[in-house]
């Protein structure tokens, strides 16, 4: 039996059990997320198998430079998140707050760039629907490509928004001094989530932006 702690919920024996529960809970949740995104990845695989040329052609209308920058931004944010977790583990409150701030800021930069890309697609009539226009015989399958593009990056962006929100809440709580060397499991599980959303993008970027890049 460890010491009584204000953060210990009443259903648990001790902080160690609480920590185990939170961590396993997040891992199981990430499994559900993999299945959730998995449906979209399957749809992507089927559609690309049916229409390889149209996907390559449509992919050229995505901005590889912006996508690449965003990839770098996200990888950097994963680093700052990992550093935040480390800071929490060793009990450095100021460093924790600093890294959480950086992580949230990088998340916002990602969303901003994503927004610029979306706006560009609207201007060039590449959003599925009645206004969609695409030169050439592959217009319908190209529209399908953009359907998947918006569904997949949109769902990913939604996860980013939630992630930024979570990090901001953690930041406020860190500022109030809720976390300590003994109790920082929320930072750790939020870190797991953040890295997961990052990894999803690592798959999305080549699948959407880098099809047939040499032509």
């Amino acid at each position: 039996m460890s010491e009584a702690h204000s953060a210990l919920a009443e259903q648990f024996r001790d902080l160690e059990q609480q920590r185990e529960v939170a961590s396993l809970g997040m891992w199981v949740f990430l499994v559900t997320e993999i299945m959730f995104f998995g449906g979209l990845f399957l749809a992507y695989a089927v559609a690309r198998f049916l229409h390889p040329e149209a996907f390559a052609e449509a992919s050229h209308h995505l901005n590889v430079a912006l996508g690449g920058i965003n990839t770098a931004v996200l990888i950097a944010s994963s680093l700052t998140m990992a550093l935040a977790v480390h800071a929490a583990q060793v009990g450095q409150r100021r460093a924790l707050m600093g890294f959480l701030t950086l992580t949230a800021a990088l998340g916002c930069v990602f969303l901003l760039i994503k927004g610029i890309e979306y706006a560009d697609k609207f201007q060039h009539h590449l959003v599925p629907g009645s206004a969609f226009s695409f030169a050439g015989p592959e217009a319908r399958p190209a529209e399908l490509f953009f359907s998947l593009y918006f569904a997949m990056t949109g769902l990913h962006a939604l996860h980013m928004v939630i992630g930024v929100g979570v990090v901001v809440v953690l930041l406020v709580r860190a500022w109030k001094g809720r976390y300590s060397v003994q109790y920082h499991i929320p930072i750790e599980v939020a870190g797991l989530y953040w890295h997961f959303v990052d990894i999803i993008w690592i798959f999305l970027f080549p699948l959407l932006y880098l099809i047939d890049i040499h032509h």
């Binding site: 009443e10 199981v28 499994v31 559900t32 299945m35 049916l50 599925p128 529209e143 998947l148 569904a151």
Partner: protein, 559 residues
């Protein structure tokens, strides 16, 4: 021989029901036992709503010309019957009510791992339910509960998006419940409660939770894509845009076939508890029954293609899916044989829960064997989309899952409410249900084999006799469902006090008072014994004094 506790004693002890009063103490509770009762209220409402649709369907089929409702209304009726019954009754019924109540008690924990998440699940479930209710009241939906594209995504002019949204939200309640159960079973077991000392009820819920966690997100994203197709013209399932409507069926059945096991696995868990308790014997082949639960959950993910034998998948895919579907029969049969072997030379008693348990085995065997007909490619082509399929899955879902649910409710009702229900009336209701069920659904096997297609609101006159039988059976079935509701409510006030272990049984849940105190156990129990060890527990004799005195007359010892 101890005396039965009086109602007076029950009222004085602090338990989860009397620890606080008022609507707030229920709506903001994080006690898994109270949340289970909230779910009980919710799923009962949806059960009766789905039942109303069933009654209207059966009434319409009373005559061959479909005189009661129009064809379009009939399409809406069977769709809403399916949506409400599957997503809002069958899937949550045993896990969210009995599982929620019992898992922490059975493993010796104070609560689930995430009590607030548990309450949030109930709110999500009701939000989803209210949205579906809104869709129903504002005109309904006619796609069938299967939402096949492109009809659902392009052509149907009914409330597809709002219904899908409701199911999507309720799906997250399933996911979070499954997550909660998995984490709880892994981390919250009492000292000495090893994996192979867990009650089989917990094992089946673990297997069910795996399906919740792995399957439900897939249906969620699939239905979200259908909604996106209607709202934003995404074309993933739309052949006009180069999309693939078969992809929808693959994704849909990837969840919806395992969902059948979400419904039936918990019922198997209940049945296992009932059979061993009322046979007074150690469960035959504990580890095989546990492993069979996991095997059903895993193989269940590999058989979805048997719903698509005539949908245009490749012949090789169909053959493999057929073979894999046969494989599910093996763990299912393992369970049935183990139950039978447990009954063999047991001192079997005919208490109400046992009637449901035995009813479950019989009806599940019927449903399972006819499932093999459907898994066989050649036979399936003949009976695909006929009433044979309807009869088959009602044997599994109503005959299996609902029998298990009711059996479990009767068995644990003394624990939940602290009271005994009237035994004679309950046995009568169980028999009425069994007769009504078979009269309703057995004729449908014949109808289907003769070629009556499902989902038609009119039919050739030669099918009328069997349809009338089915409708008559449905009215008997309805009485069988109303009776338990009436006497359960009656027993909450007037039932005799049950005492902690009325049957008596061996699980940890029976060591704590009925109803249990707010934190389940006064001190965390330490488990040093094997599960279902009736032969080594001479102290546990059926019927227990309290049941014998209150319900069955004097026990043989007292005569």
């Amino acid at each position: 021989m101890s005396t039965a506790p009086t109602a007076e004693v029950v009222r004085r002890e602090e338990n989860y029901l009397n620890v606080s009063y008022g609507i707030r103490s229920w709506l903001l509770t994080t006690d898994h036992k109270r949340i289970a009762l909230l779910y009980l209220a919710s799923v009962t409402v949806f059960f009766f709503l789905g039942g109303v649709f069933a009654v209207l369907i059966r009434l319409n089929l009373f005559t061959p010309t479909g005189d009661l409702v129009s064809a379009a209304t009939y399409n809406k009726l069977f769709t809403m019957h399916g949506v409400v019954m599957i997503f809002f009754f069958l899937i949550p019924s045993i896990p969210a009510v009995l599982g929620n109540f019992l898992i922490p008690l059975m493993i010796g924990a104070k609560d689930l791992a995430f009590p607030r998440l548990n309450l949030a699940s109930w709110y999500l479930f009701n939000m989803g339910g209210l949205i579906v209710l809104y869709s129903i009241l504002s005109g309904g939906i006619d796609t069938g509960w299967t939402f096949y594209t492109p009809f659902s995504s392009v052509y149907s002019n009914t409330h597809v998006v709002s219904t899908i949204f409701g199911i999507f939200i309720a799906g997250f309640s399933s996911i979070l419940t499954g997550l909660n159960f998995i984490v709880t079973i892994h981390t919250m077991r009492a000292p000495g409660m090893t994996w192979f000392r867990l009650p089989l009820f917990v094992w089946t819920h673990y297997a069910t939770s795996l399906i919740f966690v792995l399957g439900t997100p897939v249906i969620a994203i699939t239905l979200a894509l259908v909604a996106a197709e209607r709202l934003f013209h995404l074309g993933i399932f739309n052949p006009a845009l180069g999309g693939d409507p078969l992809l929808f069926q693959h994704l849909f059945w990837f969840y919806s076939h395992p969902a059948v096991y979400i419904m039936v696995l918990p019922a198997m868990g209940v049945t296992t508890e009932l059979i061993t308790t009322f046979a007074r014997k150690k469960l035959f082949g504990y580890s095989f029954v546990a492993a069979a639960s996991l095997a059903i959950a895993v193989i269940g993910f590999l058989v979805w293609g048997h719903h698509m034998f005539v949908a245009g998948q490749s012949a090789y895919a169909a053959m493999i899916f057929s073979l894999l579907s046969y494989l599910v029969a093996i763990p299912s049969a393992v369970k049935v044989f183990n139950w039978t072997a447990t009954l063999y030379k047991g001192s079997v008693s005919w208490a109400t829960p046992m009637l449901y348990g035995l009813g479950f085995i019989g009806l599940f065997v019927m449903g399972g064997l006819t499932g093999l007909f459907l898994a066989a490619l050649g036979v399936d082509v003949h009976v695909h989309d006929t009433y044979f399929v309807v009869a088959h899955f009602h044997y599994i879902m109503v005959g299996g899952a609902v029998m298990g649910y009711l059996g479990g409710l009767h068995y644990w009702w003394p624990k939940i409410s602290g009271r005994l229900y009237p035994e004679a009336l309950a046995r009568f209701a169980a028999i009425v249900l069994f007769i009504g069920f078979n009269l309703t659904f057995f004729p449908q096997f014949i109808l289907g084999y003769l070629g009556m297609p499902r989902r038609y609101h009119a039919y050739p006159p030669e099918f009328q006799v069997l349809n009338v039988l089915s409708t008559a059976g449905a009215s008997i079935l309805a009485i069988g469902y109303l009776l338990p509701m009436a006497y359960f409510i009656w027993s909450m006030r007037y039932g005799p006090a049950a005492g902690p272990n009325p049957w008596p049984a061996t699980g940890l849940e029976w060591l704590t008072p009925s109803p249990p105190p707010p934190h389940n156990f006064d001190e965390t129990p330490t488990v040093t014994w094997e599960p279902y060890d009736f032969p080594n527990r001479p102290d546990l004799k059926y019927p227990s004094p309290v049941v014998a005195v209150r319900q069955l007359g004097p026990t043989p010892q007292e005569e």
